[in-house]
Symmetry: C3
Subunit: 304 residues, 3 copies
Amino acid sequence: MDSWLASNLENVAIALSPCCGCSVANTERDVNLPGTAAVIDVLEKLLAVLYPGCHGKAPVSHESCHHHLKETLQEIVEELYDQTHRSFEYACNKVKCIQCGDCKEKARQSVMALMDGLPGIRNMLQEDIQAAYEGDPAARSTMEIVMSYPGLYAITVHRIAHALYRQGVHLIPRVMSEHAHSKTGIDIHPGATIGAGFFIDHGTGVVIGETCTIGKRVKLYQGVTLGALSFAKDDTGALVKGVKRHPDVEDKVVIYAGATILGGDTVIGHDSVIGGNVWLIHSVPPGSKVYNQTPSPVIKPSGQ
Amino acid sequence: MDSWLASNLENVAIALSPCCGCSVANTERDVNLPGTAAVIDVLEKLLAVLYPGCHGKAPVSHESCHHHLKETLQEIVEELYDQTHRSFEYACNKVKCIQCGDCKEKARQSVMALMDGLPGIRNMLQEDIQAAYEGDPAARSTMEIVMSYPGLYAITVHRIAHALYRQGVHLIPRVMSEHAHSKTGIDIHPGATIGAGFFIDHGTGVVIGETCTIGKRVKLYQGVTLGALSFAKDDTGALVKGVKRHPDVEDKVVIYAGATILGGDTVIGHDSVIGGNVWLIHSVPPGSKVYNQTPSPVIKPSGQ
Amino acid sequence: MDSWLASNLENVAIALSPCCGCSVANTERDVNLPGTAAVIDVLEKLLAVLYPGCHGKAPVSHESCHHHLKETLQEIVEELYDQTHRSFEYACNKVKCIQCGDCKEKARQSVMALMDGLPGIRNMLQEDIQAAYEGDPAARSTMEIVMSYPGLYAITVHRIAHALYRQGVHLIPRVMSEHAHSKTGIDIHPGATIGAGFFIDHGTGVVIGETCTIGKRVKLYQGVTLGALSFAKDDTGALVKGVKRHPDVEDKVVIYAGATILGGDTVIGHDSVIGGNVWLIHSVPPGSKVYNQTPSPVIKPSGQ
């Protein structure tokens, strides 16, 4: 390969050099984003304070637990402040803002809001854990849920990402939620609003869109989509960003595997049950039971 | 952020401190669980003895292979004994048992059963590899299957996890199976009983429940659910744990993508073929062919 | 466990020792494959030159970017040459070829073709990024797509894997594509041919078969299968490998979530729209709109 290195390496490197508007590189110039690995590092520290000793190699000693919490919280604050600061500056720069003295302040506010909100997030997660324990006959202990359930992992990351999203931070929570999607197959946009006592069983293939709202004690199974029906376009034909386009699911609804519920005007009334594989694009009143009147499949006996 | 660190850090750390019954922390007190990262370490060592040289950076030298096997097996024994011991003690403690002298013995028995069973597990895996090679026209070599097929990864982890589950170990096999679920999108509960020559193609979205039994030379495609139809509740309204609630699939059955088969009384007779997206909640006799009589979709030509 | 180690360790190690034809081990003898971890290392370096500074911990400095590209490209060339060389020798050995002097030359040609093709791959990826930005109302910047969208990750890995596949390298691109499958839930066989401006939204459960061809500016949603209808068998009953068995999708087609399109003779004409959950096993002309005439699900109001 020596001849290729001598003759072509330089040219390929030049051809791959990022230009100003090519949007594929995060190179240090004026303002820059954190790399995805740095964001995931902070996320793992957040998991380590929410569930001490559960996801590492060994338990945290009882005596050192308070020290572990303080030390890890301090690292999170410092790293996340730097990341959100860069992220606000980057977004600011994107829209040609010149006067950006408040990016530091916005970063400070965002990080403080998340940190001060952590005890409240943990209270919600305890309700989520309890809902999983009560909802799954296979669960033998709440610790099994903390250590192995993908649904709990996904909602934990979501509750963190959503807190940042509400502060106007965008890229960092998206990197976090896609990390959870990668690990669990559960794709929850950081914008979705989800009440306490939420349980997703199995979870692979679940999609929950940005403008969804979900009430308390809702239970979903694998492959459920809470999505958009169609996308509004502006006069130029470009998609309009930011409009309400995903459904509302009220308290104590159960949605079985593979059901698809679409549209920003669709409301699933509280205490409803939506059957497996149902396709629903309009609202149903509280207490509804919705299921497919599936014609039985054809069964040909042996030899026919 | 210095003012936040000075004023609020201590309070947030106190608010996040695990209390006795909050079930979110694994802190060293009397008995403790291994962390999930430690369990996954042992799992990767088990893969390294079942498939030497395949999943690391380089092949194992032929001369050192026996030494590599012995050394890795010894590490597995020591680490897994510690982990199962803690896991039994933890479960024991949970049900307020005081007299726990036999936790060590139970851990010893469990680890020995797994280790002595490894050659038998590898024989089954060789049948699984052969089934994948014969069942997938895209497979060019059996080594391609070992190195890249998610279905083989999932069944390998399952055969290990199931061996521990049968010894009464619960949390450790669940952490292993959810690690495989995370990597492959295939969710097999460690309790499921699965015969040799098992092949899952593509695999994303497959769910196989705790009380399933699956015969020999069965083939599944992506998105197949072998699940529960409904959950029995006791007098207090709580779910009854441990009852048979998932189907039995007999030898040489093929189940195509997206099929859903539910219920503890459902038996799919041997040599049956279940078509894509079929929804089946009752038994079918051996040799059945089951498919949806799908009405053709509506096709609107261009301009209509 | 000491007694087990003294009495049984040796026997289990012997029982697990790989034999010549057992196909479960990659042990250094004459020729050998790279381990999967080594292949994934090279893949991550390729991502680092295509998206500098995006996936690591920090941005790449603007001044050092050219140096970073050259250095990383050189590492890729050296490692990938070694890996493809081993891979050709291994395949060669498998079919009992004795005279293998050209394996080095084939490896050299393959690596040069990939490296010289990288700038062209990056141009296609920029069209993919633009398609994602225009196709998803939730996307706020193109950098969000680079850093977090699983669809872009999967098509990036595919474009690399496909370039190697076209050079006759088989195992290495399969390990790469299954790594992307593991991270994203999107399973694209390296053999599939996919045009520029390709966008997969959400993505979990997507399967794209080896002999698919997909035109320009095609958009897929989660759970779409472009698969085989049935497999041809030879006189001995073994599957015939290598025949065309997956569909062709022409330019500017949109395929909604959960649709299944099967068969090597199936052609989806350009500018067609295929609705959610449609099951299609024959061709449709350009501009078709295909959807299920789903009977509305049964809705039982509360109390019934």
